[in-house]
């Protein structure tokens, strides 16, 4: 079971497109689209949102990503009238980036709060995990050159985030949190970039070893 996602947009095609993009990185997460009005026009549909919430809920909760105005208002109304509103969260995040980040977090087994936090993480407030927060051991360091043809784009970035998230360690890539999809993507690392990873915490060595193996495997590409 994973946290499910609902994408609410004024446009059915936007909602479906965002779902398609996010699902590519999260094959086991249920992501439901709720776009457009009941008759296929531009707007938001309470009934479509309710149906999408039901579809995405597998017991672990649902995170909702919205575009503009009435998408948020209608989602909030649906949440208020839901049977278990405590298992539904509306993320305050840009719809595309937020959905991708939330999907990756849900895919790696994160709970409701962590999936919301992943969606809401913003590059502007990017603060690398402080070494001081991790008393267990000094920082481990790994430096390598990216070999992926298109650099660390969405899919390899998702692999990195998923790998880093599996360890009890604070891991950074070029100084940003390697467990945050948005922050990793925002680095815009191209092929040939020399990239520094650092890790602290109990699993620091293992985390970097796994990342090194992943990079050697071109992040699965």
């Amino acid at each position: 079971m994973t946290v499910g996602l609902v994408v609410v947009s004024h446009s059915a095609r936007i909602a479906e497109g965002v779902v398609e993009l996010a699902a590519q990185m999260a094959p086991s997460v249920t992501i439901a689209a709720a776009g457009g009005t009941d008759d296929g026009g531009i707007g938001t549909s309470f009934d479509r949102i309710q149906a999408a919430l039901a579809e995405a809920e597998s017991g672990d909760g649902v995170v909702v990503l919205c575009d503009l105005g009435s998408a948020v208002l209608t989602a909030e109304t649906a949440l208020e009238l839901a049977e278990a509103p405590e298992r539904i969260r509306i993320a305050d995040a840009p719809i595309v980036e937020g959905a991708v980040a939330a999907a990756v977090a849900a895919e790696s087994g994160d709970g409701l709060d962590a999936v919301v936090a992943a969606a809401e993480a913003r590059q502007a407030e990017a603060a690398p995990p402080q070494a001081g927060d991790e008393p267990a051991g000094e920082a481990q360091r790994l430096e390598l050159v990216l070999e992926n043809e298109h650099g660390l784009h969405a899919r390899p970035a998702a692999e990195l985030v998923r790998t880093a998230s599996g360890f009890d360690a604070a891991v950074t890539v070029e100084g940003v949190d390697a467990k945050s999809m948005l922050r990793v993507l925002a680095l815009g690392l191209d092929r040939g970039s020399r990239v520094v990873f650092e890790a602290t915490g109990p699993d620091a060595r293992d985390a970097l070893a796994a990342i090194e193996a992943l990079a050697r495997n071109r992040f699965g590409e």
Binding site: T37, D38, G41, I42, G43, T44, S45, F46, D47, L68, G69, S70, L73, T74, E76, T77, L81
Partner: protein, 209 residues
């Protein structure tokens, strides 16, 4: 002498009058929305209230004001399709909850319903006064209603007048909520469509006997 209590039958007549007014002024509401929004306010509200009309028939003859308001709320929420759906839907829902099981509303009860409706809109949309939204019609209406004494007709008339004045007063404002907030100073000089539809609903109430 006018009746001093608004019962379920009055509430139903009011909603029918709102539906008729929205229908006849649909183009005007949409034109206001075209200037500073997404040009769908009139059509959206009309779709919602036409759906309400279809469901009113199925309601019991003895339905209370609260029951009528609740039916309007759930129908608008699921049929309007724009921000007006959740906003008016919440307003009618909170109004229905304030009306409770009462068979009829006196002036004080009416003020409670209006206040709850306004509070619901504020809670849902998080707009403040002067943000160029329907709140700019609702809040003056609630204030005027509360000060109008214990004659329901006087309360309705005061609310309708204040809502219309509030709607007109949105014209010089810059919007801070809703689609118009993307326009900055270009919104100046245009009346907020939501404030205007609020004024329309309360005017219909004042004219419903």
């Amino acid at each position: 002498m006018a009746e001093q209590h608004l019962d379920g039958a009055w509430t139903r007549r009011w909603i029918e009058a709102v539906a008729a007014a929205v229908s006849s002024r649909k183009a005007e509401l949409t034109a206001l929305d075209r200037a500073i929004g997404d040009a769908d306010h009139g059509e959206n509200l009309d779709r919602g209230f036409q759906a309400v009309l279809g469901k009113l028939d199925a309601l019991d003859d003895g339905a209370t004001p609260g029951a009528v308001l609740k039916l309007v709320a759930t129908t608008l929420i699921s049929t309007v399709g724009g921000a007006a759906g959740p906003l008016y839907g919440t307003a009618f829902l909170k109004g229905a909850m304030a009306a409770g099981e009462r068979d009829a509303l006196d002036a004080a009860g009416l003020v409670e319903v209006l206040t709850a409706a306004r509070d619901g809109i504020v809670a849902r949309g998080k707009a403040e006064l002067q943000d160029k939204t329907m709140v700019d019609a609702w809040t003056p209406a609630v204030d005027a209603a509360a000060a109008a004494g214990d004659d329901v007709r006087a309360v309705l008339e005061a609310a309708a007048e204040a809502a219309q004045a509030g709607a007109v007063a949105t014209e010089p404002l810059v919007a801070h909520k809703g689609r118009a907030s993307y326009l900055g100073e270009r919104a100046i000089g245009h009346r907020d469509p939501g404030a205007e539809s609020t004024a329309l609903m309360l005017r219909a109430a004042a004219e419903t006997r």
